[in-house]
Amino acid sequence: MSGGVPDEGVTEPGPDEEPTPCAYTEYRDGDSESDRTYPATGADADGVEARVWAAIRDVEDPEMPVSVVDLGLIYGVTVADGVATIEMTLTYTGCPARSMLTGDIERAAEGVEGVERADIDLVWSPEWTLEMVTDDGEQALREFGVSI
């Protein structure tokens, strides 16, 4: 797999620098794959994009009460001219809940002020693995009874 999942703290903080709680680089068009780290959580987003991240955080996986953001399924959110584009993946290609999940995510994004339409860009690279789950997601999975 290209790149793989980087270790935490890809950018080594300098000696006088406080380590940032969530070390990841937000994806922007034109960035190379290697500039991106996962999971993406929207922590650096602002304005309408931050609102979209917050809205889709409420969408849960139909099999487990865990946010799709904390599962690491959302790779990026961009909003331009009222159109939100949500780049995301699924845990596996045969996921039977695909339409339900993408529909829920589209509707959540379209409920955000400043968004008229939401489009899903479904991608498979990088491959989703358990490493994509955030700390909060791991906690939620444990509480649900999934050992991780």
Binding site: M1, S2, T93, G94, C95, L122, W124, S125, P126
Partner: protein
């Protein structure tokens, strides 16, 4: 991965070649999954029911991935699956054959021959330089890995027993010429190679596939249906799938799998409920 181009950025000629490649990939996975599901509740153990159902689900997922790519260049699910003329499907005849009744060895041999080929084919497609073809490869490969393990372990188990070995030999003899159609070029083969959409030639992949499946099957006591010096082209069945020619089994299977779609089309649900009155 280098710079990838999307399907939309290709020239018309390149896109036509990529489209043909996608049809081979998608149709193989889709039809194989359809056949696997026939075993869903009749496999020899509950574990096997689950394993083969899961493999079928994966293959349907992979078909969906490749059909999604075709959706991006103007196709729809209706036109790709439910309303497509069965004669325009491009899958290998290996995946359309019905299973010999109750012959678990048939399902296992077929899965093995297919999954070794799939592994080689994904390697080649990874070199295509086209985003929609390259993006899913690692995901598919990680899902494919256990399919091959499943088939190999079952083959070892079956061939450990005299009756089991006979069944495996019969299935190999019956299926092998159809498995060779996995490597038969379609009408766009020259263009696919010219535009670099396949990192390795069909002839080279067929050679590697023959080496791999031949040495494994022979190690289990199975006699290969063709000698190393044979020309595989001499072992082709009358219908090869890749050019739209199929066995008589395919139109029947297509008719079965599209039946519900057609039934729904015939009944106007709204009128039945009186909602449009």
């Amino acid at each position: 991965m280098g710079d990838l181009r999307s399907l939309a950025d290709l020239s018309d000629e390149e896109r036509t070649a990529a489209e043909a490649l996608l049809f081979r990939l998608a149709d193989d996975e889709f039809v194989l999954a359809e056949r696997y599901t026939e075993w869903q509740v009749i496999a020899p153990t509950l574990e096997s029911d689950l394993a083969l159902s899961n493999i079928a689900q994966d293959e349907l997922g992979h078909a969906r991935v490749w059909y999604d790519a075709l959706n991006r260049i103007g196709h729809t699910e209706q036109s790709l699956v439910w309303e497509r003329d069965p004669g325009s499907f491009r899958h290998s005849t290996l995946v359309e054959l019905p299973f010999e009744e109750g012959d678990w060895a048939d399902a296992i041999v077929r899965s093995y021959l297919y999954d070794v080929a799939e592994d080689l084919r994904l390697d080649a497609v990874a070199e295509s330089g086209v985003h929609e073809l390259v993006d899913p490869i690692e995901k598919l490969r990680s899902e494919e890995e256990y399919h091959l393990q499943h088939a190999q372990q079952w083959l070892e188990r079956l061939c450990d027993d005299a009756d089991g070995l006979d069944h495996v030999q019969d299935a190999t003899d019956r299926l092998f010429e159809h498995a060779l159609t996995l490597w038969v070029p379609g009408p766009e083969a020259a263009a696919i190679e010219e535009y670099g959409l396949r990192g390795d030639s069909l002839a080279s992949m067929r050679r590697q596939w023959l080496d791999t499946v031949g040495s494994f099957l022979e190690s289990l006591g199975v006699t290969m249906p063709l000698d190393p010096e044979d020309d595989p082209a001499d072992h082709r069945p009358a219908a090869v799938g890749r050019d739209g020619s199929h066995t008589d089994h395919w139109p029947r299977l297509h008719d079965d799998l599209t039946e519900t779609y057609r039934e729904l089309d015939r009944s106007d649900v709204r009128r039945l409920r009186g909602e449009s009155a």
